[in-house]
Amino acid sequence: MTANIQRLIALNDIVGKEYVKSETTILSDYSIEGVIPWAVVFPENTEQVSEIVCLARKENLAMVPWGSGSKMTKGNAPSRMDIVICTKRLNKIVDMDTANLTVTVQAGGKFKDIQAALASQENRCYQPFENSMQMSDQEVCFELENKGCFIPMWPPHSQTATMGGIIAANSNGPTRLLYGLLRDMLLGVQYVSPSGEIIGMGGKTVKNVSSFDICKLMIGSMGTLGILCEMTLKLLPLPERKGTFLSIFGSLAEASVFVEKILTTSLLPAAIELLNSKACEFLTLDGAELFKNNHYVVAVAMEGFEEAVDRMSSEIRQMASESGTKKNIFLQKDAQSLLWDAYSNLFARAYELYPHTVSTKLNYPISRYAEIIELVESLTSDKAVEYALLTHAGSGITTIHFLIKKDNEKTADDTVMIIKKLLNYCQEIEGNLVIEKAPYKLMPRLPIWGVPAQGLKVMKWIKQQIDPLGLFCPGRFVGDI
């Protein structure tokens, strides 16, 4: 163990003793599927991250970056894990350039804190052309009719998620329907490579073809190619008006009719979520109708100009009644925020009540969502398996939480079988499935990363070039990368 003690001393030298933890009580908070590091380090800036990686490289230590840990249940157990590099202290907003509609943040900053800062950012100034060649600081600024900006996404785990983790896990939310995905918002990254170097790619411009699009490579790469330290994202001005229209249906068929109606118009809702009644139990909603078996709720989020939201609300209300809705609820302001906040943090609430939950995310062609839901219904109909189901209608994504309270062999077997059948079906229709979380005893029986892509060999070539020693999150990723 003397080697580790020497390494701990070296780490102390880089970040300071109080920021290197090796007590068992703390280490167990940083375990991944039962694998525990022997140290957790809390660097203060990118340079320290670089020094840590250089040291670890010399000593052939396997590293895992860690934000708030909300998505560490994704992926395989690491084949080795020596130190966890926690980005908690890299939490500054580096540059809030709302007049350029970009923000640069450090990876460990909480998403919700960044959004709060952006929402109150009123600086809307630009340097006029005539003054631009002089030393003058005279800018033209606008009245505060503008109400700040936002990063146009509602990521899962919004209470705890860090920007670095959101990007590393490619964790998108319901408004992907209107605003797109992380790959449509991430403009630049600064990260530490497996060789310990600080790499900068992209920047503050909304268009950039000066290199291979390394930003895209980093998204969803689960820490296997670099430790993200800083990122620049595109912003939008906060919408004038927001509202959410909830409609309860007595059957999937009727709910689908409603969804189809919306998708065939040229209306542009921010999100269309199709939920089963069990999912609604975790939301901040009241009403017995919500929780009846076989009932489905469609939540349509709308935001934008007042006139646009008004029109969407009234047309969507009309469509809901044509589709046979049992009840409509319209939410605004605080009620709407609370709902989507609960939605985002549904995982955490479910795990509290059902500690042995298996969560899975399916992706499939957009039009097949109803079939998928029907399949889940039929696979579970004769079993005592409860599940919360959430579909991003219009995106072809469904998340299912199989809610398991106790460690029960029969339930576990059933759940594994159901998931395998779902994967088969998704695969046949050119989709896939990944496990978001499962009790680690169950993981060896589950298809963690679904079916490997045809391009897996290329992914391995990339990993081999960038991290030939396999020091970043070894074994965690697809194909055991």
């Binding site: 350029n100 340097q127 411009t205 268009k207 957009i366 990363w449």
Partner: protein, 463 residues
């Protein structure tokens, strides 16, 4: 294997009529829309993925470079076989394979011309959002290789934001599908790397694109200004106020005069600059947004505002903008167009410096660009037959890119690095950054046969 044998082998893979090797053919495929020149050893026009795969496998086995080519509208030398080799031309692979409205995708072969796809989709009430100015001629394969932009990218994003997947031929001729019709595929975003790789990582043989419903309404505004300053300030003000129109384009008087002569779009010949501002989406609230924009224009001394009354007028306005690069040949026979892109807040400062640099070297510069993106396109006009003009212009181009880099911007927003901007890569990348690019290149193409000499600068040789 000598050249004769290669040609013979190629004629066994592809219909012999489509293997070109005469002197004239080789010269014809040795230039594009840039000033870079080269000469291939053969040009092949395959008709299927299988044929492309066999061609690449053959080339790889013989260590022969491969350069893919669509319509050759490339502005940075990306389609030029600067190290010889085989040009694979995709004009025969030009089929639209499937339009899948319920899943919001269209699958095409790489040789489909962008505007042809657009016209076909409009019949279904759908659009493919990216609209590079070259769309009448350029192909989707080329658009992907360059990650092309276009005026509507301000609101909708660039090519890569609309590509879901592709069938790709790799360095050794093997074929893989990356991405697909579905979102959130687990693994690395290979399609994200391939789009914009300038043909250096793989060759597209089928492409799956995202399609969107045609917007309900469109409003096109031409704002006329007496000074470039006022036009520029309007752009900054619009973005600073948090308004994102669908397009926000600027053209100056140099370009407008050339355009009027060729296209007769109705631009005012005595104005210093115009802005083409377009809004699209659902009409509710659009009038109010337009009023806001017009208010900003008026605050910045707009001389005249024209609203396109109908599709014909709209088409005329855009014909002018899109025909701009071609039209400037009336002024001088050659141009270098810089593609520097800067944060929007830096636009006035940078444009000012660009104009100063032109004056300093006595080079005529015309500006037509995606102002809302901060993507400048100073057209440096000259006659390439006059050697001293050529040299002066190259100096100006390089200085302009340095100005953009120093302003926190980048050296290419949409035209690519190709050969043209290799030297300027050091303005924005460290050696470590470039080494990362080389790692990616080595991963995909260990033997360096895919469009060698493009995009990725050679390492600095230590003496």
């Amino acid at each position: 294997m000598d050249n004769e044998k290669i040609i013979t082998r190629l004629k066994e893979i592809v219909d012999p009529d489509y293997v070109l090797s005469s002197e004239m053919d080789l010269v014809l495929y040795g230039y594009d829309a840039s000033l870079v020149r080269g000469k291939p050893d053969a040009v092949v026009l395959p008709d299927s993925t299988e044929e492309v795969s066999k061609i690449v496998a053959l080339a790889h086995s013989q260590g022969i470079p491969i350069v893919a080519r669509g319509s050759g509208t490339n502005l940075s030398g990306g389609t030029i076989p600067t190290k010889g080799g085989i040009v694979i031309h995709f004009s025969r692979m030009n089929r639209i394979l499937e339009i899948d409205i319920p899943n919001r995708t269209v699958t095409v072969e790489p040789g489909v011309i962008t505007l042809d796809l657009q016209s076909r989709l409009l019949k279904e009430g759908f659009v493919y959002a990216p609209d590079p100015a070259s769309q009448k001629v350029s192909t989707l394969g080329g658009n992907l290789a360059e990650n092309s932009g276009g005026p509507h990218c301000l609101k909708y994003g660039v090519t890569t934001n609309h590509v879901l997947g592709a069938e790709v031929v790799l360095y050794d001729g093997s074929v893989v599908w990356t991405g697909g019709k579905t979102q959130d595929q687990p693994g690395y975003d290979l399609i994200g790397l391939l789009v914009g790789c300038e043909g250096t990582l793989g060759i597209f043989t089928k492409i799956i694109l995202k399609i969107l419903r045609e917007p309900e309404a469109v409003k096109t505004i031409l704002a006329v200004y007496d000074t470039i300053e006022d036009a520029c300030n309007t752009v900054s003000a619009i973005i600073a106020k948090g308004i994102i129109p669908a397009t926000l384009e600027m053209m100056d008087s140099v370009v407008m005069r050339a355009v009027e002569e060729s296209v007769h779009a109705g631009y005012p010949l005595d104005a210093a600059a115009v802005l083409i501002i377009e809004l699209d989406g659902i009409p509710d609230g659009m009038d109010r947004q337009a009023e806001k924009i017009l208010g900003i224009c008026r605050t910045h001394k707009v001389r005249e505002i024209r609203l396109a009354k109908d599709d014909t007028e709209r088409a005329r306005l855009w014909a002018g903008r899109k025909g701009a690069f071609g039209a400037v040949s009336r002024l001088k026979p050659s141009y270098i167009v810089c593609d520097g892109t800067v944060p929007r807040t830096k636009l006035p400062e940078v444009l000012n410096k660009v104009l100063e640099t032109g004056k300093k070297y006595g080079v005529l510069i015309g500006n037509v660009f995606h102002a809302g993106d901060g993507n400048l396109h100073p057209l440096l006009l000259f006659d390439e037959r006059k050697k001293d003009e050529f040299e002066r212009v190259q100096k100006v181009a390089s200085e302009i890119l340095k100005i953009c880099a120093d302003a926190g911007g980048t050296i290419s927003g949409e035209h690519g690095i190709g050969v043209e901007k290799l030297k300027e890569m050091s303005f924005i990348f460290s050696e470590s950054d470039l080494e990362t690019m080389r790692q990616v290149k080595r991963a995909f193409d260990p033997d360096g046969i895919l469009n060698p000499g493009k995009l990725v600068p050679e390492p600095i040789k230590t003496p």
